[in-house]
Amino acid sequence: MTTLLEATGLKRFYKVGSGRKRGMLHALDGVDLAIGTGESVGLVGESGCGKSTLARVLARLVEPTAGSLRFKGEDIAAIPLARFITSPLRARIQMVFQDPTESLNPHFTVGDAIADPIRRLRGAADKNDLDRRVRAALAMVGLPDNLIGRYPHQLSGGQKARVGIARAVAVEPELLILDEPTSALDVSVQAVVLKLLADLRARLGMSYVFVSHDLDVVRLLCERVVVMYLGEVIETAPTEALFEGPAHPYTRALLAAIPDPHRRGQHPPRLDGSPRSPIDPDPGVCQFYGRCPRGQPVCAQSRPPLRPVGAGHLAACHFAGHPA
């Protein structure tokens, strides 16, 4: 598998507070990530772990503070934003957003919403050509043509989600970043959208970065999972391997917290307390230290790097691979 997008040393800091409380919030604190052509990668973690920021940096909606972003070998983070916005590369990476209602401009019809990026990024020979492409995109996500003149408020939640997907795939991206695309949807609609996404990937051969807090959904849709904690990748592995043998204690806690009817009556150990402050973190301490059931003195002396613990399986824990 060739690498489609490779991120190295991605950092994104935000200034917070004022006066004596001023500090740097480390939303992304040195992330390395490679996404293969046609690969589907799940990005999971608690709220505030930086998964949404990472998705936005990969999509160049948010500028990284440091780090490089290579798309098919070309460093796209080096292209000035104003030029990147209208370059053909912009169409290569597209994004589907969380809340289907919020992601559609209330003043744009379905047709306008899908036509806008085609016109800007792909260009259309004439009105007919544009119209043909809009209809093709609608057909691709299984929406009937007669929705073309509708406004978002006239659509159901599921239809809005599909329009959001159609808008992204209409410009034929190679990488689709999905930011919790089904979390605002009801179960029955979620199932439909998930199946559509799986089907689109099979047909169009896109790569996915699928951001979600729902590990069950990630398990169904992704080949590889990346677990984030406080702006860092702490574990990555093929989906099967991760669910079978999580190496990082945080991943273990995360998996144990997924509701499961088969665990009725059992009391697995829970992850309590809150994460360390993301503001000016000590680079010499494991970010999970203090909350970790396995914390040792060494964890407060050096921050563990990501290291291989199995085939395609990396974890950032001093004790990964050692039985508890």
């Binding site: 909606l61 992601s103 401009n105 992204a168």
Partner: protein, 282 residues
């Protein structure tokens, strides 16, 4: 969409008959302002020493003032000046305020700081007092009343636009537009400003009443409009001296015209707000 809008309009009127009344008054006021001089029975500036301070009668419905001028004619004709001043002032502050506020809200950073500081400074004054100061400094003219009223209104539109843009700036549909190859200018022009215009228009309508009051207040204390020009504020001011002799019609009718105009714009604003924001329908 058209059908939905029509439904909203019907709803707003059916639910709130006052809005329909306000619309009728609005049309009447506009008619006065546009064709008023052609409608009125007397020349609003013509003095007549034989008919000074005549109480309302069948010949002079609203009576006459101390120079024998017909008050009805003056009240009707004054609509053009009073509404004109308010419309110009609101339009000025709407356009400039929306522009400044939207750019500040979208761009953030130093532009936002500078624009915000400007609005803060204007708002640091009691606004009517600032308007007095501006007119006194720039000179006593109608144009300067418009400018002063526009300046004191500016922060309302500016801050409103800034806040509305700020809320929407990070919204998914704006991010989607950026993913779709739209630059900052296009996003502001095609995605953000059209979406903030409806609430801005409500704000403008609600603000019209206030602008009218401000302009009339300035003329009442003798700024801007000069006699013998017909203007509601100055007419009230001129009539005020006849309170102690009981010639009430000299100030009541122009005052009532003011109230009617302000009332009408406030109600229209409320109706408009109901129309565009169904959540407020309680």
């Amino acid at each position: 969409m058209a059908a939905a809008t029509l439904r909203d309009v019907r709803y707003a009127f059916g639910e709130n008959p006052l809005t329909a009344v306000a619309l009728a008054i609005f049309l009447l006021l506009v008619a006065c302002a546009v064709v008023g001089p052609a409608l009125v029975p007397y020349d609003p500036l013509a003095t007549n020493s034989d008919f000074r301070l005549v109480p309302p009668s069948s010949t002079h419905w609203f009576g006459t003032d101390r120079l024998g001028r017909d008050i009805l004619s003056r009240v009707v004709v004054a609509a053009r000046l009073d509404l004109g001043m308010a419309v110009c002032a609101v339009a000025l502050s709407l356009v400039i305020g929306t522009g400044l506020g939207a750019v500040a809200g979208y761009r953030g950073g130093w532009i936002d700081n500078v624009v915000g500081r400007l609005f803060d400074t204007i708002m640091a004054f009691p606004l009517f007092v600032l308007a007095m100061g501006i007119v006194a400094a720039l000179g006593n003219s109608v144009a300067n009343i418009v400018i002063a009223t526009a300046i004191i209104n500016l922060p309302f539109y500016g801050r409103f636009a800034r806040a509305e843009v700020n809320i929407r700036r990070e919204l998914a549909y704006v991010e989607a537009a950026r993913m779709g190859g739209n630059g900052a200018a296009l996003i502001l022009a095609r995605h953000l400003i059209p979406n903030i215009m409806p609430p801005m228009m409500v704000q403008a309508s609600l603000n019209m009443g206030w602008a009218i009051l401000n302009a009339a207040g300035l003329s009442f204390i003798g700024l801007g409009v000069r006699p013998p020009e017909a203007e509601w504020g100055i007419m009230v001011s001129e009539g005020a001296s006849f309170i102690f002799s009981g010639e009430w019609w000299t100030f009541v009718f122009p005052g009532a015209a003011l109230v009617l105009a302000v009332f009408c714009f406030n109600l229209l604003g409320d109706g408009l707000r109901d129309m565009i924001d169904p959540r407020r329908r309680t």
